[in-house]
């Protein structure tokens, strides 16, 4: 059981992007997650930039955007947005304590 990460090297530096509960909560509060179906093009960059927070919080937004611009949109694992959305879904799934707490996810 391990979390999905988006790994790459940029300017000889290794990056491993992933989400934490805190980051997903902030994305949710900012309304980013709810707008994924409505703004698939612009939302990808927001999700990508946010994915630095867990392991590379010291990377500036300027560098994050630079990397995003040079990032190939698709890989053999699927489109970038699909992967990022899957990583967010994984957070929600991992948080569900099996059988101990009643919960449901309401999607916008």
């Amino acid at each position: 059981m391990a979390r999905t990460t988006l790994d790459f090297t940029y300017n000889d530096k290794d990056y491993s992007l992933c989400y934490s509960i805190d980051v997903v909560k902030k994305l949710d509060k900012a309304g980013v997650i709810a707008h994924i179906p409505e703004r698939p093009l612009t939302i990808t960059e927001d999700l990508f930039v946010a994915a630095f927070e867990a392991n590379h919080a010291d990377t500036s937004n300027r560098v994050r955007s630079e990397i995003y611009k040079e990032f190939s949109e698709t890989s053999e694992d699927g489109s970038l947005l699909e992967i990022l959305a899957e990583m967010i879904g994984e957070v929600q799934k991992a948080m569900a304590p099996k059988g101990n707490v009643q919960w449901k996810v309401t999607r916008g």
Partner: protein, 151 residues
Amino acid sequence: MEGDEGLTPLSEEQNDKIFSFAEWADDLCPYYMSIGVSCNDYWHGDYSQLGYYVEAHKLKQERENYTAWLQGAYVYDAIGAMSPILQAFAKKGTKPTPYHKEPYGAKHVDKVDDKPKQDIQALNLAAKFSAFTTRFNQKFEKEGIANGTDN
């Protein structure tokens, strides 16, 4: 802000839906803290570890439940042992039945340790018998010499 549709004010209904994950995450935080996840690990750590904490908590609960059950069983047995003298019309001189000498499932270590002790006792007996036969033979030989019947 113009051109940024994502930041436009939302209706109350939309607002409720959007904040569901945040509220859910807030609600679950105390639960995970109660089973040993630190606040920092919950919000900023590897969420995939949360499942291990849940499993560990289940095992701990099972162990505590078994201990409580075992304690109940001992209390039940203790009351059962005392029950003959707890009766209102018990005959004079009635004694309680003895309680368990050992806990449930105790291993009989003493019986296993007895074997070397028995071996030593057997060796002692053999040595004593050997000494006795030697003394007896020496005495017999002396008496034979004195009587002139030595071969």
